[in-house]
Symmetry: C2
Subunit: 267 residues, 2 copies
DNA sequence: CGTCGCTTTGATCATGATCAAGGGATGTGG
DNA sequence: CCACATCCCTTGATCATGATCAAAGCGACG
């Protein structure tokens, strides 16, 4: 259960790592994120960070650990809506609603940096470029949700599980928590089922089938994907949706192409 | 098939209508949107506005008509990822990726205002407050995707259809295209199935069942929900996820609470 | 040492898919 | 104006994917 990379100690390091390829943070950005997220909080495995229906006071940048965002329906059925790994924000897009739409629970002991909504919203007035980067990343999360709609809506159980493992491989790689084919996955099979709309028992059978075919191995909490190519083909996995365009073009477009005249910013 | 409201003629009117409650647009905002979206385009029913894999050059603000965002898998299975109604943006979040992740097709003849990516990105430099409002609305779209994950992942067919009809009722009401219990729904049962991960034949049976129970009526292209309360109970529908907090607090937080000092905006 | 969380496996069931066929409306080209 | 095609709805019969129920084993942990 060794870690591939030592967890970064603070918020700005972890965010910079996630954003590295696409949303380069300036030293100034990192200083601000460090300031904003200086108040860290630990969430123990199986404990809730946010409970559905509660009022929002902050968002949380995950520094270490894994959390899941979920809803439990009246009759006990549970759907996991997203897995939140280091570098991701927890509490988004709930922060745009007065009360939390979902609960968020730590799946493995987690450390998060707390950013008050006041500070977050204030970024628009004080550091609009950084605000743009953060909101750009919020928007990109939609792409993951949309893709998962295709997974759950139109793929068979085997494909769903395969896709799930590959998406997580890719996301973990981005933040340096996976090598080219393996990572630590602290989820029970029940949680995987709840993320994919499958029953616990069936997830177990499907995983067994994938293992029997020599495609993946689970040992302890580590997943090893022995043939990423083959599994991707099986799942019809295209990782494009996890690779947005660099935001540089967005925040700093070529000056010549700006068509609108400027307005005073803080009028 | 009468319309409840006459369709607004231009982009800023339609956006203002959608944003009315939550994201008040200033007169200046509306002028800018009018400028940006002055180039309109018509998309005939069944024609594609964007084809998966194409390079992105613009986003489109829907003025009139309905479109759907979808993917077709290798073996022909189709998943509709979202319905795009007047006031929504088409081409988001695809615009954050070099190539379109999904195709977008008009379900009913549509009119859209075209906004080039250059102009959209340029908003951050030229009109950051308006950019904030637009990106805030992009982020809110995530909430709809997440909710639909719960619908498709953990709800039975009857509940899915009921939830679908209620979500659309609420969204159409926001832009003045539905009264308190009915609206025009130009979708075939096959499309509804593709949005909900169900087969055409089964959608038909479920709709029949809802009709037999006197909960809804389909006539011509109009849906009438006879008992919104009962249907909401059946579907476990909570419309909170369609009602974000007003953005005013976000863009104009109380000055006293701003903790960070300001930086020059266009350094 | 006993409980709890998690995995594994079997047996049975049912929701919803698939296949097939027909009918009504609308549209289109000859 | 008719013939034909297409789209969409409807319904029946059958099938299968995956759910549900049940029970047992296995660590880990207190």
């Amino acid at each position: 259960m060794k870690r591939l990379a030592t967890g970064p100690a603070n918020a700005s390091e972890q965010l910079a790592r996630k954003f590295a390829e696409y949303v380069p943070l300036t030293p100034e950005d990192r200083r601000i994120v460090s300031d904003l997220g200086s108040e860290t909080r630990h969430v123990r495995r199986r404990h809730d960070l946010i409970v559905e229906g509660a009022r929002h006071r902050a968002v949380f940048l995950v520094i270490d650990g894994i959390l899941m965002r979920y809803r439990i329906l009246r009759d006990g059925r549970r759907q996991v809506v997203s897995l939140i790994i280091p570098g991701d924000f927890a509490g988004v897009p709930g922060c745009f609603f007065t009360r939390a739409l979902y609960s968020i629970k730590a799946v493995a002991d987690a450390t998060v940096a707390q950013i008050s909504l006041t500070d977050l919203y204030g970024l628009f007035a004080t550091h609009p470029k950084l605000a743009a980067k953060v909101f750009w990343s919020f928007s990109c999360d939609s792409a993951v949700y949309a893709e998962n709609l295709v997974v759950i809506g139109r793929r068979a159980a085997l494909e769903r599980v395969a896709h799930f493992l590959l998406e997580l491989l890719t996301r973990m790689q981005v933040v340096g928590l996976a090598d080219h084919r393996s990572y630590c996955l602290p989820l029970s099979q029940e949680m995987i089922g709840d993320a994919l709309g499958l029953s616990l028992a069936y997830v177990n059978r499907v995983i067994r089938e994938l293992a029997d075919d020599g495609l993946v191995t689970f040992e302890d909490q580590r997943v090893v994907i022995h043939d990423v190519e083959a599994l991707s083909a099986l799942a019809d996995f295209e990782r494009g949706y996890l690779k947005p365009v660099p935001i540089t073009e967005l925040v700093d477009p070529p000056a010549a192409e700006r068509v609108l005249h400027r307005e005073p910013l803080l009028a």
